[in-house]
Symmetry: C2
Subunit: 232 residues, 2 copies
DNA sequence: TGTACATCAGTGAACGCGCGTTCACTGATGTAC
DNA sequence: TGTACATCAGTGAACGCGCGTTCACTGATGTAC
């Protein structure tokens, strides 16, 4: 982002909103969502704290903007992973490759930029929407949309059974999201890369295996355990 | 926890450490890990801020204690779920039931007590251990041990293939941990219980299916995607 | 059984910190005429 | 082309907040003799 600051004199920054956002991203990278605070963002942008209020209503407003950008970058990382390897000719293989690539991109991003990743899933509500309807961007975030699109494609090409499709993106997401949380919560510091890769591989196998097996009819174990939300 | 405060006069509390811990749990319940602060815990225990330092070295020390207790309660919830339904005679069915019950207990706890759940997985390092070795209690926490024990039993009784066992507890944990995160991040507020139960059921199917399918030999999709930690 | 005294577990005031946010303001910019 | 003026985008000082933490202290407790 270029800042025409010098050319415009010191008083009018020229692109302060962007500068604050960029500073906010830096803060998130270093310290996660808690670290995204107005005063520090203003300081790093070389501006008085008050100036920030010309561009963001309050601290939460800035945090939300940073969060959205974090989710966009996460989606970009997934996209990049998808095009980093060649497609497979065989549709079932391509299905496996895509799911794997998306998961890998997700995890790579989380591990490379934990602070930004955590900020993408922080609680900052959309200030433009009444709180009750603001669902923090998970269900309508770009990464989620990518996963859903991929599964749709797989169903359309006949690789994925329709029964396996339902809620599949949530289940698959849960695996990589949970794995990211676990790895970041210290496991990644404790184990060597060789082991970590095995854990990732194993977990992604679980997703693919889970999709492949969904068509099979088995005695449902669901009835043997109490539901969290009882029917009716 | 009984507090012999009145019987001992106001000056000496008698069980302040416990009272502070209890207050800390209440704070965590209401506001998550950020809300666990010394001054508030002292206030709620009816004591001056300074008094807390007789029992905890600093704020982080208290937070860590609350975190441990949170993980213990999570484990208790899983245990409760396991004994809430009758065991199945058929070993494979019992395997499915156990995995399902543990996951359900995990999720039920997370949904009923989000603040405490989040505190159980917050960053507070064990103050008694040098930071680099402190892995935040995931790998050696009671819930993790329960899952590992269950899988060991299943392998011993021949239901679970040894290949499926390796890292299985991490993969399975990832599913429910990630699902908890997603649900708490707004999805649980957005969807009706009927849908939520389907999502949970589907995700737990994925785990069981993933274990069942692990023994099958398939062309490994692993090579079609870049590893996060390259071999060598 | 009584008493001197160490120790334990609290008090209360104070410090510095960084934050969010508001106030009255001012310098720069652009536009109507 | 020049100028008055509205508007825009900043400044700087100040407020109140709650926190972590330290200091010198004091009231209660228990123990040695």
């Amino acid at each position: 982002v270029d800042t025409p600051r010098t050319s415009r004199g010191a008083y009018h920054h020229g692109d302060l909103r962007n500068a604050l956002l960029e500073s906010g991203l830096g803060l998130a990278r270093k310290g996660g969502p808690e670290a995204v605070v107005l005063r520090a963002a203003a300081r790093e942008s070389g501006v008085s704290p008050t100036a920030a209020y010309r561009h963001f209503a309050n601290r939460e407003d800035l945090l939300y903007a940073v969060k959205l950008e974090a989710l966009n970058r996460l989606a970009a990382a997934m996209e990049a992973e998808l095009s980093a390897t060649a497609p497979r000719r065989e549709p079932a293989e391509e299905a496996a490759r895509r799911i794997r690539a998306l998961g890998t991109g997700y995890l790579r991003f989380a591990l490379e930029d934990p602070g930004l990743f955590r900020t993408g899933f922080c609680d900052a509500p959309n200030p433009a929407i009444e709180p009750a309807r603001s669902y923090s961007g998970v269900l309508d975030s770009p990464p989620f949309a990518m996963l859903a699109d991929t599964l749709d494609t797989l169903v359309a090409s006949g690789v994925l059974a329709a029964e396996a499709r339902e809620y599949g993106e949530l289940a698959a997401w849960a695996v990589v999201h949970g794995l990211a949380g676990i790895l970041l919560d210290g496991v990644a510091r404790m184990l060597p890369g060789r082991e970590l890769q095995k854990i990732v591989d194993r977990s992604l196998d679980l997703v693919i295996e889970g999709f492949a097996g969904a068509a099979a009819e088995r005695p449902s174990a669901r009835r043997w355990v109490r539901p969290i939300w009882p029917a009716g």
